[in-house]
């Protein structure tokens, strides 16, 4: 045993000169952030000047630090308060995302799918039209002025009648609810028919599919029935939909198929090809997502899994390449980066349910199972499918909307995800941009709160935020910021574009339950 020593330079803190901020380090730079999402990167002497109250009007950083509210002199508290209200305006709005699982039947057996799925003959896992009606009546009580009804499964197109009914009935009901109502379908395309596709296009149901990469990667991840090629099917339908929108005179920048990608080890090995494929298909946004690291057998995880560090390396490689493509004039953005950038560069929060404080489970989204049971989120219904009903909020037959959203479980999840109250997060410079996932924590550590330093989401979010701010910091000519700002622009579609004035609504009792029974698959476990 030997003794050593370290000399620490403890800066002077001029208590009367400071406004409130958090700080941390990114490489040699000090990052400071505040509640409204303003940030600045300083070098150490500048940071010491800030702490020591030496940012006077002559100081080169005075103007920016003053404008962003990091120094007390002439602090515009009213302005900060207004901006904070705007950033957090999703609070109290109620769920804006209603996930409806119209069936659990699925014809694919994806390697990473550990959500509940059933074989194709299990018609008992289709949502009946009576239940569908009750679900629509339930979710449309949300006070949110915007509502996206998202179909998931199983493979939702297997129960296409229920899906159609929900779209038509919700639209009819919206005549007096007057919400901005959108519908989206998450499908693997393997049971899509031209008739369904035409109906989806004509009814403005946005289609999102899963595309994990080139044929070798996609077909490896997504095991389908023998003799079929999941990749060919998905490519065919992406092209079909995109062409159809154009034929109908829709703006292809607003109307097109989006694709989600779930990263397995195989994807990591082929990252560049994956992005090139997305670009070649004209896809404008790639949403990179890590696997949920739970629910796998150890042997499966060894084959397809990776460490948070490996994921981050993959992510930064992809993002560097995507940036390079943008510099060459290719229009492509990355989804998670866009969420962070909107918080970092704009006065708004994108209200992305998985990356906000509090997380959206129950307060930003609700998930309805085929049987009418209500869950706090998509993840919660998957936990329920694994036999744990801790996050069930009731059933549309006997739980009112208010009871569901005020359920003690929703409150517990909210409390466990308010970053200001969580150790480590409360102090973390990334808190204005980040979000924690209590249900994710629960799956990993059987604890809603978990220990942040050990969660892969913390490592991922910290890595992404660091990467983005470093890029902006080194952006001498402003070109990176121009690209990043484009990724944050929100151009809402008109959900009623091209619709007939009065969609026909069928009486549920006049249609038999269940949908077509041709084969389909399960969509990705959404992160």
């Amino acid at each position: 045993m030997s003794q050593r020593s370290i000399t620490l330079r403890r800066p002077q803190v001029a208590s009367d000169e400071l406004a409130w901020f958090r700080f941390g380090r990114i490489g040699q730079r000090v990052v400071i952030t505040n509640d409204v999402g303003d940030w600045e990167l300083l070098d150490e002497p500048e940071f010491e000047d800030l702490l020591g109250g030496r940012i006077d009007e002559e100081h080169p950083r005075h103007a920016v630090l003053q404008a962003k509210g990091f120094i007390r002199n002439d602090l515009d508290v009213a302005g900060l308060a207004s901006r904070l209200r705007r950033k957090k305006r999703f609070l109290g709005q109620g769920p804006h995302l209603g996930i409806i699982i119209t069936t659990l039947r699925c014809n694919q057996n994806c390697r990473y799918c550990h959500a509940s799925r059933t074989e194709m003959d299990r018609v008992d896992t289709d949502m009946s039209l009576e239940t569908a009606k009750k679900v629509v009546d339930h979710i449309m009580q949300t006070p949110s002025p915007y509502l996206n009804i998202e179909f998931q499964g199983g493979e939702p197109t297997v129960a296409f009648e229920s899906l159609k009914f929900i779209v038509e009935y919700s639209r009819e009901k919206n005549r007096y609810e007057n919400k901005r109502l959108e519908h989206s379908l998450v499908t693997n395309m393997t049971t899509m028919t031209e008739e369904m596709a035409e109906w989806l296009v004509r009814n403005n149901v946005m289609v999102c599919t899963s595309l994990d990469g080139p044929a070798e990667v996609h077909n490896y991840n997504r095991t389908w029935q023998k003799g079929s090629n999941a990749y060919d099917s998905v490519i065919h339908w992406i092209e079909w939909f995109n062409n159809r929108y154009i034929e109908l005179g829709r703006d292809p920048r607003l109307w097109h198929v989006d694709a989600l990608m779930t990263t397995t080890r195989k994807t990591i090995d082929h990252w560049k090809e994956v992005i090139d494929l997305y670009v070649s298909l004209g896809i404008k946004n790639i949403h990179l997502r890590p696997l949920n690291p739970f629910g796998f057998a150890m042997s499966t995880w060894k084959r397809i899994g990776y460490s948070p560090e490996e994921y981050l390396e993959f992510y930064t490689n992809c993002l560097e390449y995507i940036l390079e493509l943008n510099r060459q004039g290719v229009e492509i953005s990355e989804g998670t980066a866009s969420v962070f950038l909107m918080k970092m560069l704009t006065p708004d929060d994108p209200n992305f349910v998985d990356i906000r404080s509090p997380v959206g489970s129950g307060t930003g989204q609700l998930a309805y199972m085929y049987d009418g049971s209500i869950h706090a989120s998509d993840e919660a219904r998957m936990i329920a499918a694994m036999g744990d009903d801790l996050f069930d909020l009731g059933h549309v037959d006997n739980t009112t909307f208010d009871e569901a959203v005020n359920h003690p479980t929703v409150k517990a999840i909210a409390v466990a995800s308010i970053l200001d109250s969580l150790p480590m997060c409360a102090d973390c410079w990334n808190a204005p941009f980040c979000g924690v996932r209590p249900l994710h924590n629960y799956m990993l550590q059987k604890d809603l709160f978990a220990q942040r330093a050990r969660t892969p989401k913390c490592a991922e979010h910290m890595g992404i935020a660091r990467f983005l701010l470093s890029k902006l910091d080194g952006d001498e000519d402003g070109s990176v910021e121009r690209i990043f700002r484009r990724w944050t622009i929100s151009r809402p579609r008109d959900p009623e574009e091209g619709l007939d004035a009065a969609p026909p609504v069928r009486d549920p009792s006049s249609v038999e339950s269940g949908g077509p029974t041709s084969g389909h698959s399960r969509l990705p476990v959404l992160e």
Binding site: N148, S184, I489
Partner: protein, 149 residues
């Protein structure tokens, strides 16, 4: 020193797989020690003991075999984090009232509506400026929607 910084000398023991610091609570507040320790539990095994009244001994043991350089680096990172935690606490104490006041004004102020509406209008007007490539909304963010659980 003219900028008012003080130098703190932090002594530690370097062992086979561990480094240990003896910290005087008057200089290093216990909250700062906890804050730093919390950040290190994924990297090292951290254990606290009380060698004498008013002192906390922090032992950081590497998770596997470690070279002397790695242990010295671990000690350095811990010391830096301890300092960060101390500064954070000072900043927090100095500014928490301003923050509380701002939060109260944001969420409970009675003049809220009028000013936020004006601000929204002003900021909305800026939003669609300057988008030469006109990249569209990713579908999961159209309006305020999003996917996922």
């Amino acid at each position: 020193m003219s900028d008012g910084a003080d130098d703190l000398e932090l002594v530690y023991d370097l062992g086979a797989r561990a480094v240990s610091f003896d910290l005087h609570e008057e200089l290093y507040a216990k909250e700062a020690v906890y804050g730093a320790a919390y950040l290190f539990v994924d990297r090292a095994y951290v254990f606290l003991t009380r060698p004498s009244d008013g002192h906390v001994r922090v032992r950081l043991r590497s998770r596997g075999a470690a070279t002397e350089d790695q242990l010295v680096a671990l000690a350095g990172e811990f010391a830096n984090e301890l300092l960060n935690q101390m500064v954070r606490r000072q900043v927090s104490e100095a500014t928490s009232q301003i923050r509380e006041y701002t939060l109260a004004r944001a969420f409970f102020g009675n003049d809220g509506r009028a000013s936020i509406d004006a601000l929204l209008a002003e900021l909305d007007a800026e939003d669609l400026d300057d988008d030469p490539l006109e990249i569209e909304v990713p579908w999961e963010r159209s309006g305020q929607g999003s996917v996922g659980g």
